[in-house]
């Protein structure tokens, strides 16, 4: 674009020629600097991720993924903590998806435009901005102190669900709002009730955005560590496939921190590298696997 404008005004004896030369130089300099900084930063961040995957993934074996962690000897695995990660994620999503979606549907569909609803919206946004560690403190006060069940999987999962709730609410609300009004009116015109319209028309149309939001939330919850350290502890029950929600529930993210900064095992660095690689890999997988089909679908229907 800029080259077009300069060509058309290229008069040799322009009184502004020296000034134009300067701003031309500035423009070149600016373009160059922005390109360099942009490329460097993106390459830098991506290479960090690549570094993690490249350090850890080749050393991975099945024994590490299902093995029991050890406190003293070398060769400990991450089986129980990896399992806890998925278990906690599953329970927290089980709680937060229905609640978050229902709240989002209410805000998008039913809510009248009054001060009270504006207040609810501020609450949702406020809760979304609460730092994760506060949910951890809240979880301690609620589960460890009031209910007196100690550091448990269920405590961690519920605290995590509270963390996810506002995000899911906002995602659902935005997705439902983005559904064209014509579809809704057509459904009403066919004699469908409001619930039928929401179930059969609004949610299927908005599903793409909702699933993207759920994936983002799930990825965030999978890697969340501050909440889990405070509410589910830094140790696991030490056996594989422990479905008891009242056992301590350190997740993979917590284990990564624990091994790197507190543990005394001789191969802590190796375990941390492999755990970090698994963590990044799973988060990328959650984000990519669920979204690629939707993305392809969106391209086809466009």
């Amino acid at each position: 674009m800029s080259s077009d404008t300069t060509k058309s005004t290229a008069l040799p004896s322009s009184p502004f020629s020296s000034r134009r030369g300067l701003s031309h130089f500035n423009n070149r300099l600016f373009t160059g600097v922005v390109w360099i900084i942009g490329v460097c930063t993106v390459v830098f961040i991506c290479s960090l991720l690549f570094l993690i995957l490249q350090k850890g993934l080749p050393k991975l074996d099945f024994g590490f993924l299902v093995g029991l962690p050890s406190e003293i000897d070398e060769g400990g695995g991450v089986g129980p903590v990896l399992f806890n990660s998925f278990y906690v994620l599953f329970i927290s999503l089980l709680i937060s998806i229905p609640l978050g979606m229902a709240a989002g549907i209410y805000l998008a569909e039913f809510a009248p435009a009054n001060k009270f609803i504006a207040f609810i919206r501020i609450c949702v946004e406020g809760l979304a901005s609460v730092p994760s560690i506060i949910f951890g403190l809240f979880g301690i006060a609620l589960f460890v102190e009031q209910l007196d069940i100690g550091l448990t999987i269920i405590g961690g999962a519920v605290s995590l669900a509270f963390l996810n709730l506002p995000v899911l609410t906002r995602v659902t609300e935005e997705a439902i709002r983005a559904v064209p009004q014509e579809m809704k009116q057509a459904s009403f015109g066919l004699g469908a009730t409001h619930l039928q319209t929401i179930r059969r028309v609004m949610i299927p149309v908005a599903l793409n955005m909702i699933i993207t939001g759920i994936c983002l939330t799930a990825g965030r919850a999978f890697g969340e560590s501050a909440v889990i350290i405070l509410t589910a502890g830094v140790s696991s029950s030490g056996v594989m496939w422990d479905f008891n929600p009242l056992s301590p529930g350190a997740t993979l993210a917590v284990h990564l921190w624990y091994v790197q900064s507190e543990a005394i095992v001789p191969d802590a660095k190796l375990i941390a590298e492999k755990a970090a690689a698994v963590l990044v890999f799973v988060v990328l997988l959650i984000n990519i696997v669920f979204r690629v089909p939707l993305w392809l679908n969106a391209r086809r229907t466009r």
């Binding site: 709730l165 501050a226 993210a253």
Partner: protein, 321 residues
């Protein structure tokens, strides 16, 4: 809502010929309509309760944190808590000034590094890259937002700190600069994607007008596009600040966790979040120490809620533009 006529007598009409959805109503009069109305009402009530639940959580968090935190001031004076630099819980000295100052200093430093960088990246993304690169880079940045903070902390601990040590030639690497760099890497994708969106949203006619007046791309971007996207940039900056203030694990791993005032870049220190997470597990619930930690959490909570109010005000202004 639904105005479907429901047949009242079953013998006149053969039920097989009817739509299967009407079968359930063959006995009772208007049974289907009543059922649908009931479902609708129940669904609406469930939705209302869920959205009220969000408010209930926010207020119970505020209440629990505030109530537990205020107990601190039974034994510690407000002045001592906020302005004393002596954090020695073993001797009943609970001065949180170091941590409050540390949090603000860290956030400021993070923003000083990350805001200019992310404006440049956003300009790069929105104005300069060819479209094939755009479609590649935007999803990558979105993926980066989802990388767990503990992984960034791990990277900071194993890559950044040794790097800083060789750069400075000392064996001091932990501290506020290392934490700010790690936080910058974390918030950069978030901030730059929001700024990118707000730059894309600037109407094309603004740019056309600027180019028609003979300005270069540099002048167009700095004098027209960026000022027009100002409210979006402010929004992004505040969201980034909120994330930087509340970030815990990445900071814990690189900041050194020592209660001393952060008056140098390479000096192990501590911030509100890192201090809470390092100490909360070791203290009994009914102790002043614990209450002080909850009070520090309450400060964080209040700061983040104030930021949301500011964001709302900025967005309110943005609509008027």
């Amino acid at each position: 809502m639904s105005m479907i006529e429901v047949p009242t007598s079953g013998k006149v009409l053969n039920t097989d010929e009817l739509g299967s959805s009407l079968k359930a109503s063959s006995g009772k009069k208007f049974g289907r309509k009543a059922r649908l109305t009931f479902y609708n009402k129940t669904f609406k009530v469930i939705c209302i309760v869920s959205s009220l639940f969000v408010c209930v959580i926010l207020f119970s968090i505020l209440f629990l944190m505030g109530r537990t935190g205020v107990l601190t001031f039974e034994t510690v004076s407000i002045k001592e808590f906020f302005f004393s630099t002596d954090w020695v819980p073993e001797n009943d000295q609970y001065g949180a000034f170091i941590f409050i100052f540390g949090t603000f200093a860290l956030t400021l430093l993070t923003m000083l590094i990350s805001v200019p960088l992310s404006v440049v990246i956003a300009v790069f993304l929105a104005e300069m890259t060819p479209s094939w690169l755009k479609t590649m880079l935007r999803p990558v940045l979105d993926l980066l937002v989802g990388i767990p903070s503990v992984v960034y902390g791990f990277l900071g601990m194993t890559v950044l700190i040794p790097m800083l040590r060789t750069l400075t030639g000392t064996n001091m690497g932990d501290g506020i600069l290392a934490a700010a760099i790690v936080l910058t890497i974390m918030v950069l994708p978030t901030i730059s994607r929001i700024i990118d969106d707000s730059i894309v949203a600037v109407p094309k006619k603004f740019r056309d007008a600027s180019y028609a007046l003979g300005s270069t791309r540099f002048q167009t971007i700095t004098r027209v596009v960026i000022p027009a996207a100002k409210s979006g940039i402010m929004y992004a900056v505040i969201l980034g600040m909120a994330r930087a203030i509340g970030e815990t694990m990445a900071v814990v791993m690189v900041i050194g966790n020592t209660p001393q005032l952060a008056n140098a870049l390479f000096k192990p220190t501590s911030v509100l979040t890192s201090n809470i997470v390092m100490q909360i597990a070791n203290v009994p619930f009914d102790s002043t120490w614990n209450y002080a930690l909850y009070m520090m959490g309450f400060i964080l909570l209040v700061i983040s809620l104030i930021m949301i109010v500011v964001v709302r005000m900025i967005q309110g202004k943005g609509v008027k533009l």
